[in-house]
C-alpha cells in the first residue's frame, strides 16, 4: 500500500496517459474530451500531493532512493501546473493538426511523470532513469510537427541530448567509483571522510555532471540546440521544453550539488564554475536575443539568459550559517516565477501565431488593437521577464541577487543587473511593437476559451505574486530546509 501511496501522483498521471491512448483509439469521435482526461490526471496528481502535505507524512522510501519531502512536493506542484497549462495551450493546435491526438497528450503526461520522479529522486540511478523517462518523449514531441524544421529540431535535440546523457552517466560512474555508492547522502558521507584525497577525480566527475545538467538547463556552452529546437518544435512543445525541462534540470542539480557535493572543498570549486557559466549565459543569451526577428528564437535565447539567472542561486552557496540554503531557495522561487511568466508569454505567442500565421516580431505590430487581451497578457509577462515590479519576476531576481550579494558575489550581481537592462531592450521592444505599431489588419480576434483560461491563470499568478510574494517565498524556503546543515 505504501508504495502506491508514495507514487500516487506519478501513477495517476501515467494512468491518465494510458486512458488517453485507449480512449483515442476506441472512441475516435469523442476526441475533444482527451485533453480533459489529461487534465483530470494532473489534477488527481496535485490532489494526491496535497493529501501528503496535509498528513505531513514526509519520508524516504524504496531504500532511500525516492524522497517524499517538501522539496519534492514543491516541484510536483510546479510540474503538474506546467503540464496542465501546456495541455490547455495545446488544444487548439492539436485540433488543427488533427492526427494522433491521443499520443500527443499521452507523451506530455509521460514527460510529466518522469519529471515528478525526478523531483523526489535521491539516487544517481533513479535520477538517470527519471531523466531519460522525461527526455525521450520530449525528443519525439520536438519532432511532432509536419514540416522539416520540426523533424530537424527533433533529430538535433535527440543527438545532442544523447551526448549530454552520456556525459552525465560518465560523471555518475566516476562519482560511484570514488565513493562506492549511488545514494546521495552516502556519497556525501564518503566524501566527508576521505574525499580530499580524490579531489582531482571528484572535480572531473563534477564537471561532467555540470555538462550533463547544463544541456537540460540550456546554459552556455551547452546551449547550441536551443534556438533551433525552439523555433522548429511546435510552439506548445517549445513552451514545455523552456519551462518543464529547465525546471527539472535545476531541481535535480540543486539536490545533487547541495546534498551530495556540498563539502566545502568542492563547493568552492563548483560555485565558481556556476558563477562563470551564469555570467556568460546571461550575457551571450541577451546579446543574441537582441538581434532575433523571430519571437520563438528570441524567447529561446532569452531562456538561455534566464537560465543564467537561475544559476546565480547555485553560485551563491558560499553563504554561511543559517542562510546556507538561501541560494537554493532563490532557485526554487525563480523556477516558480519563471514557470508563470514564461508559460504566460508562450501561451500568448501560441494564440497569436495561430491567428497571424507568423512568428516574426514585426508581424506583431499593433496587436494591442487587434487583440487587446493577448497583447496585454504577453506584455505583462515580458515585463515580468525583464524583472520590473510589480511582477513576480522582479521578486525572483531581487531574491536571487540578494543571495548572491550575501555570498560576496557582487560582481555577478553587477553583471546580472546590467543584463536586465540589456534584456529590457528586446523584451520591451516587443511590447513597443505591439502597442505602438500599426496593425496590418483591422480584423479583431478573440482568444479561444482554453487559451484564455491558460493566459489568465498564468498572468494572474504573475500579478498576484508580484504584489504579495510572501507565500511563494516561504514555500521555497521551507522546501530547501532539508539541505540545511
Amino acid at each position: 500500500m505504501n508504495g502506491i501511496d508514495v507514487l500516487g501522483p506519478q501513477i495517476s498521471v501515467l494512468l491518465a496517459a494510458g486512458v488517453v491512448i485507449i480512449a483515442d483509439s476506441l472512441f475516435p469521435a469523442q476526441r475533444r474530451i482527451l485533453p480533459f482526461v489529461a487534465l483530470a490526471g494532473l489534477i488527481a496528481a496535485a490532489l494526491w500531493t496535497t493529501s501528503w502535505v496535509s498528513r505531513g507524512d514526509y519520508q524516504t522510501v524504496f531504500h532511500g532512493t525516492i524522497a517524499l519531502d517538501r522539496y519534492a512536493v514543491f516541484f510536483q506542484y510546479v510540474f503538474a501546473g506546467v503540464t496542465a497549462t501546456v495541455v490547455l495551450a495545446s488544444i487548439d493546435w492539436v485540433n488543427r493538426e488533427g492526427r494522433r491526438q491521443g499520443e500527443y497528450y499521452a507523451l506530455l503526461l509521460t514527460v510529466c511523470a518522469g519529471l515528478m520522479f525526478l523531483a523526489g529522486a535521491r539516487d544517481l540511478i533513479t535520477i538517470f532513469i527519471a531523466l531519460e523517462l522525461s527526455s525521450i518523449p520530449q525528443y519525439i514531441l520536438a519532432g511532432w510537427g509536419k514540416d522539416t524544421k520540426s523533424s530537424e529540431a527533433g533529430l538535433k535535440y535527440l543527438l545532442l541530448g544523447a551526448v549530454a546523457s552520456s556525459l552525465l552517466l560518465y560523471g555518475m560512474a566516476l562519482l560511484y567509483g570514488v565513493t562506492g555508492s549511488t545514494l546521495l547522502p552516502d556519497i556525501a558521507a564518503a566524501i566527508e571522510t576521505n574525499g580530499e584525497s580524490y579531489r582531482g577525480l571528484l572535480v572531473v566527475a563534477m564537471t561532467l555532471l555540470i555538462a550533463g545538467f547544463g544541456f537540460k538547463m540550456a546554459v552556455v556552452p551547452f546551449q547550441m540546440w536551443v534556438p533551433d529546437v525552439y523555433q522548429g518544435a511546435p510552439t506548445p512543445v517549445a513552451a514545455f521544453l523552456s519551462v518543464g525541462s529547465k525546471a527539472a534540470a535545476f531541481a535535480v542539480a540543486v539536490r545533487v550539488f547541495f546534498e551530495a557535493l556540498g563539502a566545502d572543498f568542492l563547493s568552492d570549486d563548483w560555485s565558481m564554475i556556476f558563477a562563470v557559466i551564469a555570467a556568460v549565459s546571461m550575457t551571450l543569451g541577451n546579446l543574441m536575443a537582441i538581434a532575433q526577428p523571430d519571437i520563438k528564437r528570441m524567447l529561446g535565447y532569452s531562456s538561455i539568459a534566464q537560465a543564467g539567472n537561475f544559476l546565480v542561486g547555485l553560485a551563491a552557496i558560499s553563504v554561511t550559517g543559517e542562510e546556507f540554503t538561501l541560494g537554493a531557495s532563490g532557485i526554487l522561487l525563480f523556477v516558480a516565477a519563471y514557470a508563470f511568466t514564461n508559460l504566460g508569454a508562450f501561451v500568448a505567442v501560441i494564440a497569436i501565431s495561430q491567428k497571424i500565421n507568423s512568428d516574426k516580431i514585426a508581424d506583431y505590430a499593433g496587436m494591442w488593437k487587434v487583440s487587446p487581451f493577448l497583447a496585454l497578457g504577453l506584455a505583462f509577462c515580458l515585463v515580468s521577464l525583464t524583472g520590473i515590479p510589480p511582477t513576480v519576476g522582479f521578486w525572483a531576481k531581487l531574491y536571487i541577487f540578494n543571495a548572491a550579494v550575501r555570498a560576496d558575489l557582487v560582481w555577478l550581481v553587477v553583471v546580472g543587473v546590467l543584463n536586465s537592462v540589456v534584456s529590457a531592450y528586446y523584451y520591451l521592444g516587443v511590447v513597443r511593437v505591439m502597442f505602438l505599431g500599426q496593425p496590418g489588419t483591422e480584423q479583431r480576434f478573440r482568444a479561444s476559451p482554453s487559451i484564455a483560461v491558460a493566459l489568465t491563470a498564468t498572468a494572474a499568478g504573475v500579478l498576484v505574486f508580484g504584489i504579495v510574494p510572501a507565500p511563494l517565498m516561504s514555500a521555497a524556503r521551507d522546501a530547501v530546509e532539508i539541505f540545511a546543515r
Binding site: 541577487f401 550579494v405 557582487v410 510574494p469 510572501a470
Partner: protein, 487 residues
C-alpha cells in the same frame, strides 16, 4: 491614512476612468480633475497640519508587507520637512497637468489614467520610507511615462520614450545594487533605521555604494553628461507630461540624493562634496551655454532645466543647512516656474503648431495674454527678485559660498547666461516684427487655461515674497540633517 489616500486615490480613479463606457469617454477629464483637486486640497491641508516644531517623520503609516527571513519589507510611509513640500508640489502640478490636458481628445480615458498613475507613483516615491517600496514606486513611474510620451507625444516620440526608459532603468539598476548592499549590511530596509545604522565592512566599499546610488539619481536630476535623454523627452512629450517631467520627475533625483546618499552615508558625502559642487556648477555653466544655441523653444527650456538643476546639486554639495534648504527650495521654485513655462509653450504650440524659434515672432501682438504669461515665467526663470527663483538661487549661493567660492562664481556666470537666453528667446518669439501668418490665431481663452496660468503665477509670486511659509518647514529638517553631517 492621508498619505495612503494620496497614493491610492489617483490609482483607483485611474481604474474608474478606464472602466468608463465609450460614450462617456470625453468625461474622463472631469474624473481626473476632481481627483487631482482632491489630492491638492488634501496635501495642502496636510501642509498646514504638519507640526513644524516636532520635526521628524509625521503622518507615518507602517504595515508588514513581506517578512521572510532576510527580507523584511514594510509598507512604511511618512513625510518630513523635505518630502512634504515636494508632495504638495506634485499634487499642485498634477492638477495643472490635468487642466492643460482638458483639450486632449485622442483616447482620453487611457491618457488621464496614465496621468493619474504617474501622480500616484511620484507621490509614492516621495513618501516611501522603506527602500524597496521606494524602488518599486521609482520603477512604476516608467510605465505611464513611456505610454504618455510614445502615444500622445510628437516628433520622434517612440525614440525619445525608449531613450527615457532605458536611461532610467540603467540608472535604477545601479541603484538596486546599492540598496541591496546597504540593506544587507544593516539588516533592514527601513530608511530611518538605516540612517541610524553604522555601516561596517559592507560588501562593497561605502564610497562605491554612494556612487551607485548617486548615478541612479544623477540620471534623473540630470547632471551633465547624463542629461541627453531630457531634451529629447521634453521636446517630444505632450505639454502636461513636460510639466510633470520638469516639475516633479527631475526632483526625484535631487530628493534621492538628499534622502539616501547624503542622509545614509554622511562620511562619504563629505569625501565627495567638492565633486558634487563641481559637477553642479559645471552643469549650470554647460547647460547655460548649450541653451544659448537652441532653436526649439521646448528644447531651450529643457536645457535650461539642466542648468537650474545644477544649482540643486551645488546646494547639496555645500552640505550645510543653508545649502540644503536652498537646494530644496530651488527644486520647488524650478518645479513651479518651469511648469508654468511649459504650460505657456504648450498653449502657444497648440495654436501655432511649431516651436521653431525662427518661424515665430511678434506673437505678443496676436496673443497678448500668452505673451504676458510667458514673459512672467521667463522673468521668474532668470531669477528676478520678488519671485520664487531668486530666493532659491540666493539661498544656494549663500550656503555654498564659504566652502566652494569657485563653484559659486562659476554658477553666477551661468545665471547671467540664463538672463541672456531667456530674454533673447522672448525677444525672438514674442516681440519683433509681426508675422501675419499667425493673425488668425486666438489668444488664451478657456477657463482652464486661465486657471492654470493664474494659479501657477500666483504661487511663484507667493514663494518669492513670503518664502518663510515653506522655509519654516524645510529648514528644521535640513538643520537636523546638517547637524548629523557635521558630527
Amino acid at each position: 491614512m492621508e498619505l495612503s489616500i494620496l497614493i491610492f486615490l489617483p490609482a483607483i480613479a485611474a481604474a474608474v476612468i478606464l472602466l468608463l463606457p465609450q460614450r462617456l469617454e470625453q468625461q474622463a477629464r472631469w474624473v481626473a480633475l476632481v481627483t487631482a483637486a482632491a489630492m491638492f486640497v488634501l496635501s495642502v491641508q496636510m501642509f498646514f497640519q504638519f507640526d513644524r516644531d516636532a520635526g521628524g517623520y509625521q503622518f507615518v503609516e507602517r504595515h508588514r508587507w513581506v517578512d521572510i527571513g532576510a527580507f523584511n519589507l514594510q509598507y512604511l510611509v511618512g513625510v518630513d520637512g523635505l518630502s512634504l513640500p515636494l508632495v504638495v508640489l506634485t499634487t499642485c502640478l498634477t492638477l495643472a497637468s490635468v487642466l492643460v490636458s482638458f483639450s486632449v481628445t485622442h483616447r482620453p480615458r487611457a491618457y488621464f489614467a496614465c496621468l493619474l498613475v504617474l501622480a500616484s507613483s511620484v507621490v509614492g516615491v516621495f513618501v516611501s520610507l522603506d527602500l524597496m517600496l521606494f524602488f518599486l514606486f521609482w520603477e512604476l513611474e516608467l510605465f505611464p511615462m513611456y505610454l504618455l510620451i510614445s502615444i500622445w507625444g510628437s516628433g520622434r516620440k517612440e525614440y525619445s520614450a525608449t531613450k527615457f526608459v532605458l536611461y532610467t532603468i540603467a540608472g535604477s539598476a545601479f541603484m538596486l545594487i546599492g540598496i541591496l548592499v546597504l540593506a544587507f549590511d544593516a539588516q533592514t530596509f527601513d530608511i530611518e533605521r538605516l540612517a541610524a545604522a553604522e555601516f561596517q565592512d559592507t560588501l562593497l566599499p561605502l564610497g562605491w555604494v554612494f556612487f551607485l546610488l548617486f548615478i541612479g539619481f544623477a540620471v534623473k536630476l540630470p547632471i551633465v553628461p547624463l542629461h541627453t535623454w531630457l531634451p529629447d523627452a521634453h521636446s517630444d512629450a505632450p505639454t502636461a507630461v513636460s510639466v510633470m517631467l520638469a516639475g516633479v520627475l527631475l526632483k526625484m533625483g535631487g530628493y534621492g540624493i538628499i534622502r539616501l546618499c547624503v542622509t545614509l552615508m554622511p562620511e562619504v558625502a563629505h569625501d565627495w562634496d567638492a565633486w558634487m559642487a563641481g559637477i553642479g556648477a559645471f552643469s549650470v555653466l554647460y547647460g547655460g551655454f548649450i541653451t544659448l544655441r537652441q532653436t526649439d523653444v521646448k528644447r531651450l527650456i529643457a536645457y535650461s532645466s539642466v542648468s537650474h538643476m545644477g544649482l540643486v546639486l551645488l546646494g547639496i554639495g555645500a552640505l550645510g543647512s543653508t545649502g540644503l534648504t536652498g537646494a530644496t527650495y530651488q527644486m520647488l521654485a524650478h518645479g513651479l516656474i518651469t511648469g508654468l513655462m511649459f504650460v505657456m509653450i504648450g498653449l502657444m504650440y497648440e495654436r501655432t503648431h511649431t516651436r521653431e524659434i525662427a518661424r515665430l515672432g511678434g506673437l505678443a501682438r496676436q496673443m497678448p495674454l500668452i505673451a504676458t504669461g510667458m514673459v512672467f515665467a521667463g522673468m521668474a526663470s532668470l531669477g528676478l527678485p520678488a519671485l520664487a527663483g531668486f530666493i532659491a538661487e540666493v539661498t544656494v549661493f549663500l550656503g555654498a559660498f564659504q566652502r566652494f567660492e569657485w563653484a559659486v562664481l562659476a554658477s553666477i556666470v551661468g545665471v547671467v547666461l540664463s538672463a541672456g537666453y531667456i530674454l533673447w528667446m522672448l525677444q525672438r518669439v514674442m516681440f519683433g516684427p509681426v508675422r501675419h501668418e499667425w493673425d488668425e490665431l486666438s489668444d488664451q481663452r478657456h477657463w482652464w487655461e486661465h486657471t492654470v496660468v493664474a494659479g501657477l503665477a500666483a504661487l511663484v509670486v507667493l514663494l518669492g515674497v513670503y518664502p518663510a511659509l515653506i522655509m519654516d518647514v524645510i529648514e528644521p529638517a535640513m538643520t537636523t540633517l546638517a547637524a548629523r553631517l557635521q558630527a
